[in-house]
Symmetry: C2
Subunit: 584 residues, 2 copies
């Protein structure tokens, strides 16, 4: 061992102990006759002291030559610090150095290794190994480890078995493109990397494995948006002989366990909300319920006057912004500008101030009198001092716009406190959703999700109305998990695939093995998968996932540190029976 103690370990009780430490030079101060060095490792920082009277001359000279991020080993004695530092765990002591070895030198790092660094995102990603030395990243990775250990401990105690499923599999269409892997030994053929272990976990249920989980990498070749990674990690779970109720209870238990063990927060039984209600009250399927501002539908109380905008609208929605009457005209204009941004896309916003004296002042006073506005206020639940914001238009669009506005205003009002945790089950998702581009219905969750009992017949007549045994777990406005009760008989699965546009041959080629398996005693089963990257970030009180991933890729799917992907040799292509086919 290069050290007897870590740099985070020494306390007053260690005074007079001889120690050996190793680590990185965080900073040094040279007063001529005395040199202080802050020595850092994963566990903390310890102050080293070298002085003319007590340290050999060659050692003090060497100490003066140290640059930031040099790697050193020191031997010395723990002594009491003259000016104690209460903010450091080791602040009561320092180490009087008797020997110093430089284990490795360091060039000046391209950004400071501090909690608040001067390095931008790009440079930090290129030198990720230096970025990881910073507490915010290092602590996030350690935090992630703690979360996964707790997940495994909890599930294992519940008799779940972690089973590794293969990475080199066959294409399973789940809404995104597969990454593929050419097979050298099977000429012209390709493996696919899993978008999820979905079919394998179902086969494990057919195999009697009964309670399965796996913390597993999954892959999607999608055009990347901010905070999306081509490879991501799931806590993938499946159970046999269970109903939806059982699954919600088990994974509510897991989530509650994590909130308690990781965040020290005790949470009541998670509320449940129908998908339809979530859309009606919050305009999306993952409502942030840390705060109110529920939608009030105002059609009935707005469409009886001459205001054409509302009269022509499919849906008119209002929300009550707490204390919003305090906004100046300029602030309200700013909000209106915000909803008209292309990313939100509203054409405008109507508002109504709710004065403290109980009177109202709206931007459409010439159409609506005090009695009308009183109804808006009633429907939205606004209180004196609030502001009612109203948007209108086509149902799906206006809901999305109002949802975005609600989140933005909550952010501005400080209502999205990362230390508050508001979990929520959203249940009874539709089985299918209309693909706007193709005009066809596609599986909302995936093709293996079972419709609610008795609703299979509606598939032909009213496909959009069929509800599924599908559910999402939402935490603070983020979907952290989702799942469903699966189809477990061949006939229903075949019907489902037919409705999703698979020919019989395609269905057999892609899912024949699963449908065959259903003929050999498949038990009823269902499951859920958590998105680990996001779950960890939210438990850690963060919005972005990058600090919780050791080596993330950028928005072009590149690892800028190792410079991947890269071109490969012609020889390697030849072995794989491939040619590049690049359009000039």
């Amino acid at each position: 061992m290069y050290r007897s103690h870590s740099c985070g370990e020494l306390r007053a009780s260690h005074i007079n102990t001889k120690v050996t430490l190793a680590g990185w030079v965080q900073k040094s101060r040279d007063k001529g006759f005395m040199v202080w060095v802050d020595l850092r490792d994963r566990y903390g920082i310890t102050q080293l002291i070298f002085d003319e009277e007590r340290t050999p001359k060659d050692i003090i000279d060497k100490a003066k030559s140290l640059g930031r991020e040099f790697v050193v080993q020191v031997k010395g004695t723990v002594i009491e610090r003259e000016s104690k530092n209460d903010k450091m765990a080791t602040g009561a002591v320092e180490v009087l150095v008797s020997d110093l070895q430089i284990l490795n030198e360091s060039k000046l790092p391209p950004f400071t290794i501090e909690d608040k660094t001067d390095g931008g995102e790009d440079i930090r990603m290129k030198y990720r190994y230096l970025d990881i030395r910073r507490n915010p990243v290092k602590d996030s990775l350690i935090f992630r480890h703690k979360v996964t250990m707790e997940v495994r401990k909890y599930l294992s105690e519940q008799e779940f078995i972690e089973v590794e499923t293969p990475y080199l599999i066959k294409s399973t269409p789940e809404g995104a493109r597969d990454f593929v892997v050419p097979s050298r030994m099977n000429e012209g053929q390709f493996y696919a990397l899993p978008q999820s272990p979905q079919t394998f976990k179902q086969l494990l249920m057919v195999g009697g494995m009964d309670k399965y989980f796996q913390i597993v990498k999954c892959f999607r070749d999608e055009d990347l948006r901010a905070d999306r990674q081509p490879e991501f990690t799931q806590i993938d779970c499946e159970m046999a002989f269970v109903t939806q109720e059982d699954i919600l209870n088990i994974f509510e238990g897991l989530t509650r366990h994590l909130l308690k063990e990781i965040d020290g927060v005790e949470v009541d039984k998670f509320p449940r909300m129908l998908f339809d209600d979530a859309m009606r009250l919050y305009g999306n399927d993952k409502p942030d319920i840390r705060f109110g501002m529920e939608f009030g539908e105002l059609n009935a109380v707005t469409q009886h006057k001459d205001f054409k905008v509302f009269n022509d609208a499919e849906l008119v929605i209002g929300i009550a912004v707490p204390g919003g009457n305090a906004y100046t005209r300029k602030e309200i204009d700013n909000i209106i500008t915000w909803v008209k941004r292309p990313q939100v896309g509203a054409l405008g916003m109507i508002y109504c101030r709710v004065n403290e004296d109980g009177s109202f002042k709206s931007s459409v006073d010439k159409f609506y009198d005090q009695e009308d506005l009183a109804k808006w206020v009633e429907v939205t639940g606004a209180k004196p001092g609030d502001l009612v914001c109203v948007l209108s238009g086509e149902t799906s669009k206006v809901r999305a716009q109002m949802s975005a506005l609600r989140m933005e205003l909550a952010e501005r009002l400080g209502l999205r406190d990362p230390k508050v945790f508001a979990p929520l089950w959203v249940i009874d998702f539709p089985l299918l959703e209309l693909d706007e581009e193709t005009g066809h219905y596609q599986a909302m969750h995936h093709p293996f999700t079972s419709p609610k009992p008795g609703q299979l017949e509606l598939l032909d007549s009213k496909p959009g109305e069929v509800k599924a045994n599908a559910y999402d777990l939402v935490l603070n406005g983020n979907e952290i998990g989702g799942g469903s009760i699966r189809i477990h008989d061949k006939e229903t699965q075949a019907t489902m695939l037919k409705h999703l546009g698979f020919s019989e041959e395609e269905a057999k080629a892609q899912f024949g093995f699963l449908m065959d398996a259903f003929e050999y005693g498949a038990p009823p089963h269902g499951g859920l998968a958590f998105g680990l990257d996001r779950l960890v970030a939210i438990l850690g009180g963060q919005e972005t996932i990058r600090d919780f991933i050791a080596f993330p890729k950028n928005n072009s799917g590149r690892d800028v540190m190792i410079d991947a992907p890269a071109f490969i040799d012609d020889e390697q292509l030849q072995e794989l029976s491939l040619k590049l086919d690049i359009q000039e």
Copy 2:
């Protein structure tokens, strides 16, 4: 929940309890007025009883219709069993059934779901989901889960952090071909799947992460041999500020912990053997030391007579086979035939019987007298009643042949008891090995392994003699882990890559990021990786790894259950800017 208890849970203490069970029909016996069904789930088997006097007629009729592997749910009462079965955990009771639901039917499975099945390897792989229902496979997967939980627990308690490294990386030449993944967003470029997370774990050390581990899938596109999988799992570990001694101690601790917790076996401090000694005494670098039969080198005591075969040989080796003098002439001929098989490749075998009376009888008595043979016996340590077997030839070949013979004879003698565990560190591996095909030296472990201190200078003059800080952990004749102390400075790494035949440009293109990282304060570091599949198999007392992998691939790298790899659409190829280039 479809059940109140599992099928492995009911005991005499449950008598008179009303229960609901669900599971698979293992078998049924129909005596007309009475039907017994063995109901199976992951946890065990419970006997169900239906009888004319106590069970409703429609239920008993339904019971008579059950086929093997039907999935059923039953309600009933636990009663005392008339003829108890001591061999079953639930053998004291049975369940008198009052209600029966068929949850799913089953076609007749293509092989019996029994510990000893009638199904061959191929059919079991095609229907792996049925194979997993069998105890040997199911129990192996559960056993694997237990091992990985213990590994994580132990390492986590030692302050190791599990960090996920990326799967979509860049080619890292480690002796095998990479699987590659075409990137759609970066035209003409490819990711590679990791053969190991080697460079990333080293970057984590540079990043100060200090104690890292990961249970992680790795990928090698090799021509498969029996028991080799294109994707396999490693327990990958790395530490900073450590010497070889520290690493051996930590991972010896882990292995001892596993042997104790998993197998209930306490093992002494692991012996250590130099690579050179392993080759000299056992003819290979992973000796099985559960038994003796060490090699005796006989050149000095055989090359002074007229026996040309020995006189021409670079090396003459003998081993003493315990009790081997009891072999008949026919048995010895059988051994000689065995060593002449092309897989072993010896040209013949000389032997010497050691009679109980102290006299010797060899197959070359016309060249060697009793005094000569006494020396053979002395060198090989043979005792009265033993047989000395002697092979000769070129050093590397004869060692490999004798090693094979030693293992074969130990197998025949029952000396390879899977319940006995004999771990061993083999240390001081050579840094380089000669590639017979190319005539060039290549890295024996990988290009990041550091030479022993002071030996770097030998690289030019005597490359084959340079020893590395590299070590393997051997268990019962299998390499279960291996690792090294790494190079952590740019200059040494550059020198090493130059000697391995990388031009400066190639070195920079492939490992520039790592060598750059070494310039920013890289600490001394090293590590080790266990092959999890094999480790689990050996801890489980098995020779083959397939039962410990849920969905293994066959020797052509195919998953015969899902039928992967497979051809993909032209459209998909086009998106990836690829064309097939198949030679007619």
